[in-house]
């Protein structure tokens, strides 16, 4: 399922600064949504290591910025893509 370009752009505009704040090496690659419109996947990359960060699409829309930031941080840390200091 492909998101509309506008929706993709808005997700990117929301997440890219958060990622950059965690580590400027993170590159926003793509955003995907499954056919059930429930699982949102945000593809990011650092060096040669890709990650697909998962979000519940409905929750994501209404997720406060602080929670989103901590969710991102937690997912990246679990993949060992973040150092101990969260940048």
């Amino acid at each position: 399922m492909e998101l509309t370009p506008e929706r993709k752009r808005s997700i990117r505009q929301r997440l890219e600064p958060l990622l950059a704040a965690l580590n400027p090496e993170f590159r926003f690659v793509e955003v995907i949504l499954d056919s059930e419109r429930r699982n949102l996947g945000v593809v990011v990359q650092k060096g040669d290591q890709p990650a697909v960060l998962r979000f519940d699409f409905v929750r994501y829309v209404s997720m406060p910025e602080a929670e989103l930031r901590s969710n991102l941080e937690e997912q990246l840390r679990s993949r060992k893509m973040l150092g101990n200091s969260s940048g």
Binding site: M1, E2, L3, R27, V29, E30, V31, I32, D34, S35, N39, G41, V43, Q45, G47, D48, Q49, P50, A51, V52, R54
Partner: protein, 610 residues
Amino acid sequence: MLRRLKQILIGSPLETAALPDQRLSKKAALAVLASDNLSSTAYATEEILLALTAGVAAGMMVPLHYSIPLAGAIAVLTAIVTISYGQTMHAYPTGGGAYTVAKENLGVTAALAGGAALLLDYILTVAVSVAAGIAAITSAVPSLYSHRVLLCALAVVVLLLVNLRGVRESAAVLAGPVYVFIIAIYLLIGGGFVRYFQGEVLPPPPPTGHEPWSIAYVFLLLRGFSSGCVALTGVEAVANGVRIFRPPVARNASITLYVMAGLLASMFLGTSFLAYMYGFTPRPEETLLSQIGRAVYGTGPIYYGIQATTMVILILAANTSFAGFPRLASIVAQDRFLPRQLANLGDRLVFSNGMMFLALVAIGLLIAFGADVHSLIPLYMVGVFLAFTLSQAGMVIHWRRSKERGRGWRMAFNGFGALTTALVLLVVGAVKFKDGAWMVVVALGLLMFVFRRIRDHYYAVSRELSLMDYEKPEELRHTAVVPVPGSPNKMVLAAIEYARSISKDVIAVHINLGGDDREELARQWHAWTPDVPLVVLESPYRAIVQPLMRFIDEIHNWRDEDVVTVVIPEFVTGRWWHHFLHNQTTAYLKVALLFKPHVVVTSVPHHLRR
């Protein structure tokens, strides 16, 4: 092209229904199964003399006429083993020899020891026979001596091809040379005796007494005896390959076995007598048989005929292994102690995989030992006599459980056979241990360990695949990931369409090695497949498979209870050599994905017309 080459080399496939037609008459089976045993006439006497002359070289007084009683003792042992195997064949007409007898009567460990010993014996038979055959040629044409390893490898390949054509075909090729060899040896023995008794040869000097009895002296004689026991190798082939005979199987096999033993004993004793009467001792550059042939018939056509026949029979002796090894390996594989592929019949109703494996290992041995017969023979004996002993010991238990008439004397005979061969095994093991027999002991242990590990694996597989604890999964959902090379083309779009037909969630992924214009790529992609997202991953180290595998892992964890199907677009070239003009990324990717759990791999081929 490969199929045509295969057809030329080994012939057209045979129907399974033709299997009974592949069974052999006694005459044909003697050619296939006795070539190993009879060919040992060419080197058994030489092995005894080599052991005795080693004592002479060490300063001991060893009368070389002792080779005669030693040969006599070996002939008696041949009779014992032959009669024992005759009984085995009546009790186990299904074949398998020591492995089957030990499995039925002594337990799995003994069976594995017997199986390992026999399989090793077959491998060594190929190596020893071919090395000895080529030695016969290099004796006549010494300039070929430096090429002996290559000649041996070529001989093994030719034998393999002949055997891959089928049992009947190999028997047809073999029958002539085996019978010609028998005639040639009797011609040599007859001519040798005639010349000797006509007084044309100086009689050997009368025995001058011997070394005082000591441990070293006894050890030397035992060494001579155990070296000569190489003559017994191949006796077991008939019992192992009973199923090669036409019915009545046991009767035909027994008759063939007794004929073979009679021929062996007479030929071996005859050449041993001649070697002594003509006063020949082994020489590294010329075989004993060649020396006798030269002395009896001069360096003329008969001599060359005998040499050529000897070379052919020695090489063809390896054929017994090509008949026996694959059959035994198939029996062991059916019990899941060897890979299942060894139990499959090939195009020509022979166990082709077993044959190819045998040829490869034998060539490896010949290379490792520089095709030197004397270095290979010490390896040969331990396995043979272990198999003899286990087979006879198993038969003792068999008769004890049996209610058949005459079981008492049969048990006694097999018991005596087991005791005798066990003694020889001990002697051979002790005297040949340092010469290389230790390698066989190690190899036997290793093989038995491998057998068990293979069986454990098959057991684990069957347990894991068993439906005993099966729970039907909930409805499957899966994400299809299509690795794409860049801009869309027919091959890529075919894969995307296929992926769309099996999943609502299709993701295309491209690994950018640095040269792609991301925006142009996105534009092209959107024009052809607007509803499939394209993920473009950067690969700073120019690797393709590794970032792709990481992405697939991530996609697998993206949704719960999700199966990932990787749909690989690939093209198939019109000509086989075009294949080498393209990257092999697809092949690497398939191999890497094979080991990933919960990932299904589907290939969508696009067949190129040119």
